[in-house]
Subunit: 362 residues, 5 copies
């Protein structure tokens, strides 16, 4: 069992590392996903125009800045910090922002700068081993560009890219602010999926709990669920604050007509929050529930013991009496002594049964 | 037991589905009640006038718009989203509102638009199987019309329709704002009924808990009560915020004289909230209570075992002594040896009884 | 036991009924105390004047309105709603107020109208069966009159009436606002008494809990205490808000010099609140405490069993050995075999005793 | 045990009495310390002047009013309410203040009047029997005088009086506001001492809990600690609000330069508050901790029983087999039958030992 | 075990001493680390200049005041209070500040004075014995100097001093305000390290908990973890308030460009706070988890006992029957009686096995 746990420690760890004792603004990657190359995925679009371009060369991204289109530069891989610095400096990002982009345990937040908004959030998903993993994502939204930085390839923006490619919805006719909204919207929609997955795990554990078969790992499973809900909370609760502030920010970067969408997003993140709190309460309550099922089972064990012992110990005593070797035990010489005793024993037997029946133990 | 649970999972599920990864504003129904046709129930009234009309044709509803009467259009069935879009577009409802109307897990909320208010709430009731079900209801209140959208036929507005038909109370003399209030009032009054039903279930479970007969399903029943109160909370807590904001909104859509009624409504929803919190605490406390009754019962089981074993094990030992086959056991040859031993045994027997009596175990 | 509980259900019910699905403003009595006649107790006073008058005729109360004295009309009995409506209409009370007067589960609140203040509160007391009962009381305070509405005869205003009759304190020299304060003050003072009674019940239960004698009803008694404290809370917590708002209201109905008294009242209701919270914590903690005492007792039971069994089972085995009928058991033929065995048995006996002593179980 | 508890009830009572159903402003003493005479301790001082005077005659205090010095009149004994009224009227104290001075369960508070501030607080100390007692103290601070009212002689102002007598610190050069601060500062410093005492009691109980020797009084001791921390909280939490308001009050009675000291006092009372909350959490957690130690002990008891029974019951059965009197039991006539059986028994014995060893129960 | 605990008491104590009943502003050291000499470590720097100087003579520090460079005077050792007063008076520190510098249990806070800011915080670290220790540190930040006061040598500013010496980062080009930030930043970064250490302890304890081997010290270890997290909280929670106020202070002492860094610091301290709350919840939950593992183990113990007893007690009874000495027991004389009985016994044996198998206890 110890072995099983040790294997899991890496993913169940709630508090990840932070590069410490460095000068503030130092860009030092703190995550685990180290790829050799930084990969850029650039989408350049307007109502009529659509262009997608993938590259490993940072400088390739610079030319899109002058276009009148909206440009979404998605960066996969943060371990190559020189690339991040190059891109960051080109877009004039403050050193503290560059530090936050590669600090994978940075909590979700929003920072307003004069020319751009900087938002940090977490992408959650259950991997094949049903372990909850979270990926640190940062986003910079400027006048006509959006930068997103992910730890590794793979994200929840597939449908969004489809809508961009095929011009579905209003995305191609709106600005960078709407793209920023759409990215956050995809993240929040994904949180609903994650919570539903968690909800299924809770349901399964509940059913297991009421099962007759004992499973000594239940305490551990409850503990793991606790950690998962804590991880989700760490992503969701601060994002709620981020969206709330996004709704109130006074900035020319966000158009009036996008506000309704941000309000809708806020409404959804509140709903995610409430579900998280509900599942938190439920998971915390599972331990108490498990405790009562254990006690119920022990009660049954004890009853079996008590009934068996209470019936047969007196009978054994009765047999012991007439196994004694005293010279003078008159009953031994009764003609039907043996049968009389059997009668008495059967009486005691059924008397005990009746007693336990009355006590409702049988 | 597992089978019983599996059957219930559908209704006890707290976190329902959300259509995900769709473009914001997409009108995709997320509920379970899929009917083939959308059914409209239209009431058109003023102080002197009363007209009621049922139809499946959306366009039929349009002609009431020009009337000087108040029009209440109640829509049953959300699965036919084209109908919702048709009606929504006719009344100029924002795509996000149309999305919320068919998103059955949308939490209660109020949105202010220039020409109308949009309110989402939940209709709760216990079905014949005593399972708590909730129905997603949306309401749009304009200058002289109220639209309500329900998942399926059947609601708690029967008495309200009666009052409209017979002109009881002030409803026929008041505006669309008072109709909106009356609808919410019927909902909140229904919450009182739901809580009373829940309160009876809690009482019954409590009595069961103190019963002598053990019932291994009690933990499950407590768990189900927890989920029911959580479901009620999810409907009630955000509605409180809705009514609070309704009280404070500055809009020409609500007349001054209706404000007193909204304040009264707010007072009632607060009362519902308090009851919900109280029952939440009570239900959460049931598990602890159950735990002590289990422990009390185990205590009694153990006492029976201890008393039986403590009395008969020493006696059996005594009989065992004189069942031995040593050549020289002088007591065996005493004339009254057998009777002496019985005397000693009776002494031990009553000594043990006295001991347990003193310990107050008997 | 079930019988005992069933009898109590009426009084232990936390959530009372509400007349539902009625038009807002409908005056329908929801309480249990139905008397055939409404009884009025009128006190008309000024510094020099004092007059007390009891009647069953509502119209008798109308003549006092024109007097320059302060008039306190106390109404006992709410089931005769026509009388309430007659009186209410005469004093120009809004239909919603009339509804609240007879809605016995209306929570404590204050409503400001132009010509009067409307306050709802709860009168608590322990009846002869030591059951906590609460009575719904409403008060209307106008320029020179105070109306109070009670469910039935009997209240906590005896001393206040004495002070009015004998002109003790400043009551006869002050206005209707001071009378309103004095009524609330009597209510709050009574809450102190109720809490003291509850505190004694808690103390008694605590002592019972530490008693040696087991009492299987303790869980139920704790549960009943929980319900009582919840009932008190439902009366006290919203009244705190009422008095707080009373302190802040800007109205010509309340004189400047009365404000100091209202502040004092607020101070007292806060104190009641704090006591309620403390007893709530204490009562909630009793269950945990009870759990440890049960476990302690079970521990003792198990020790007795373990000691008895551990001592006598090995001895019985030893006796069993020499009760066997093998042809060749040399020890049986030793001259002092029987005595040797006794020696060994006594050794084992004291060895076990020493072992349990060392373990501190004896 | 019941006797021990009954003795304690007086001191462990959380909710003390309140003189009830009296006219507001009635000066009726509610405490227990009734002395026949009221004792005054007057200190009159300025930078150059110092005079201390003790008397039982209230009128003696009046002459100090005209002096240009600061006068501190400390009153010991509140049961002689006439004296309190005489002094109160001389200093023009409102009847509600006079009531609060003798109402010993009045919670800490601050009232601002035009010419003085009125502050109520609690003096805590552990008496010789290690019981926590609290004393009701009121303070009136005017332009050049401070009145303090205590239930009985004995307080925590000894060092403060020393500093006044010897002119240490800035006290003699400052005004009545600094004296008021210094009195509160002595009270708050004393709270640190009380909490340290409590902390030691908690430490001792913790050590007891981990001791091997069982102590059935531990539940009671935890319960008593709970009550003590609740008592401390009742004194400390509202005083925090008092000092906070003291910091913000705009009054000519408090000099600008005293504000820094009041801020420092506020900082200290916050620190007391935090410690109280920490110890509250700790004490509440003790019950859970105790529960696990009980369960651990029961586990050990059960293991001993299980090991003894599991080893010797099968062996006894084996011996029982060959104690039977069947005519034909071939083994009984084997030459080494008895020794073979011993061999089998020893095998079973060590087999069981090995089994329990493997289960890590030994 | 008692001995082990007594040794630890000094470090596990949550509530340290406070010099009591002294005149406010009295500079009396309350800590434990008493060194004979006060040690000063002075760093004087500007963009071009760097000078480091260590001394025991307080006056040596005075000459740096006139330099145009930034001066950081770090004081190690607070027990020599005369030195603190000398330095404090030279820098014009208010007596209350001087008191706070040497009051080692002063909680983290910020005080604004006209010419300087005064900040108190705690330095945490795990010593070699894995005991969490905290050191009281005060900081005064003036126009071109920063004073820091520590209880003893050794701190977490090593990297910061390196950056100063080698001019890495922007520290040498910025003002005293940035130095103040950098010091707090080093403290907060260190909190991340401390929490990670704690997180490892929690992980280890969790693994221990799920181990098969029982460890009676687990309750104590959980209790110690509780105390550690409480200690961390006492340092972290108020520092959050400090940094929050630092962000909002309007003072010429802090340059505009430093604000971004303080905001970043605030973001980090919030993150520390959240981690602390998470670990607090986790550690509090460990006790419940431990409880279920104990109960699970007891369940297994009871099952072994019940199975052994239920199988062998009836068999022993059967053997006992035929060990009786009645004159007439026909079965004893059956030719295959002994074998028939064995058959019956084997039947009972497997019957019981089957029964327990069906109950899933085997
Ligand atoms: Mg850093
Ligand atoms: Mg990715
Ligand atoms: Mg969305
Ligand atoms: Mg389920
Ligand atoms: Mg929406
Ligand atoms: Mg969507
Ligand atoms: Mg419906
Ligand atoms: Mg209503
Ligand atoms: Mg009941
Ligand atoms: Mg009402
Ligand atoms: Mg609660
Ligand atoms: Mg109604
Ligand atoms: Mg009455
Ligand atoms: Mg009063
Ligand atoms: Mg008590
Ligand atoms: Mg008591
Ligand atoms: Mg008072
Ligand atoms: Mg609990
Ligand atoms: Mg009174
Ligand atoms: Mg005193
Ligand atoms: Mg102080
Ligand atoms: Mg300790
Ligand atoms: Mg200790
Ligand atoms: Mg201080
Ligand atoms: Mg001091
Ligand atoms: Mg140091
Ligand atoms: Mg930092
Ligand atoms: Mg782990
Ligand atoms: Mg940062
Ligand atoms: Mg918490
Ligand atoms: Mg618990």
């Amino acid at each position: 069992m110890a072995a099983r746990r040790r294997k899991k420690q890496e993913t169940t760890k709630i508090q990840p590392k932070r590069a410490r004792n460095l000068s503030p603004g130092t860009v030092a990657y703190t995550g685990k996903k180290t790829t050799t190359v930084t990969q850029l995925d650039i989408i350049d679009y307007s109502k009529e125009h659509y262009d997608r371009f993938e590259t490993h060369n940072i400088e390739d991204a610079f030319k899109y800045e002058d276009s009148t289109h909206i440009t979404w530069i998605n960066v996969n891989g943060l371990s190559n910090t020189d690339d991040i610095v190059t891109l960051g400096n080109h877009f004039d990002l403050h050193p503290l922002i560059q530090e936050d982009i590669v600090t994978t345990n940075q909590r979700p937040k929003i920072d307003e700068y004069e020319d751009y908004l900087f938002i940090v959030f977490k992408m959650l998903h259950y991997d094949e081993a049903e372990q909850l993993t979270n990926e640190h994502v940062s986003m910079v939204m400027g006048k006509d560009y959006v930068l997103t930085f992910q730890e590794a390839e793979g994200d929840v923006f597939g449908d969004l890219r489809e809508r961009l490619a095929h011009g579905r919805g209003r995305i191609r006719t709106a600005g960078a602010d709407y793209l920023m909204f759409a990215i956050l919207d995809a993240i929040v929609d994904n949180y609903f999926t994650v919570i539903e997955f968690l909800s299924n795990k809770v349901e399964l554990l509940e059913d297991k709990l009421f099962d007759d078969k004992e499973d000594p790992n239940i305490t551990e499973e409850i503990q793991d669920l606790k950690k998962e809900i804590l991880k989700i909370r760490k992503a969701v609760v601060p994002l709620r604050e981020v969206v709330n502030r996004l709704e109130k920010i006074e900035t020319p970067l966000i158009e009036e007509r996008t506000n309704k969408y941000i309000r809708d997003l806020y409404d959804h993140i509140i709903q995610v929050n409430e579900s998280v709190e509900i599942y938190r309460d439920m998971i915390w309550g599972l331990m108490d529930m498990y405790m009562t099922t254990i006690s119920n089972k022990m009660n049954e064990v004890m009853k079996v013991l008590t009934i068996m012992a209470s019936i047969f110990i007196p009978l054994t005593f009765m047999a012991g009496i007439y196994g004694m070797n005293f010279d003078h035990i008159p009953e031994l010489h009764f003609k039907y002594g043996y049968y009389y005793l059997w009668g008495a024993m059967i009486l005691v037997f059924f008397g005990m049964l009746w007693y336990f029946k009355r006590k409702k133990w049988l």
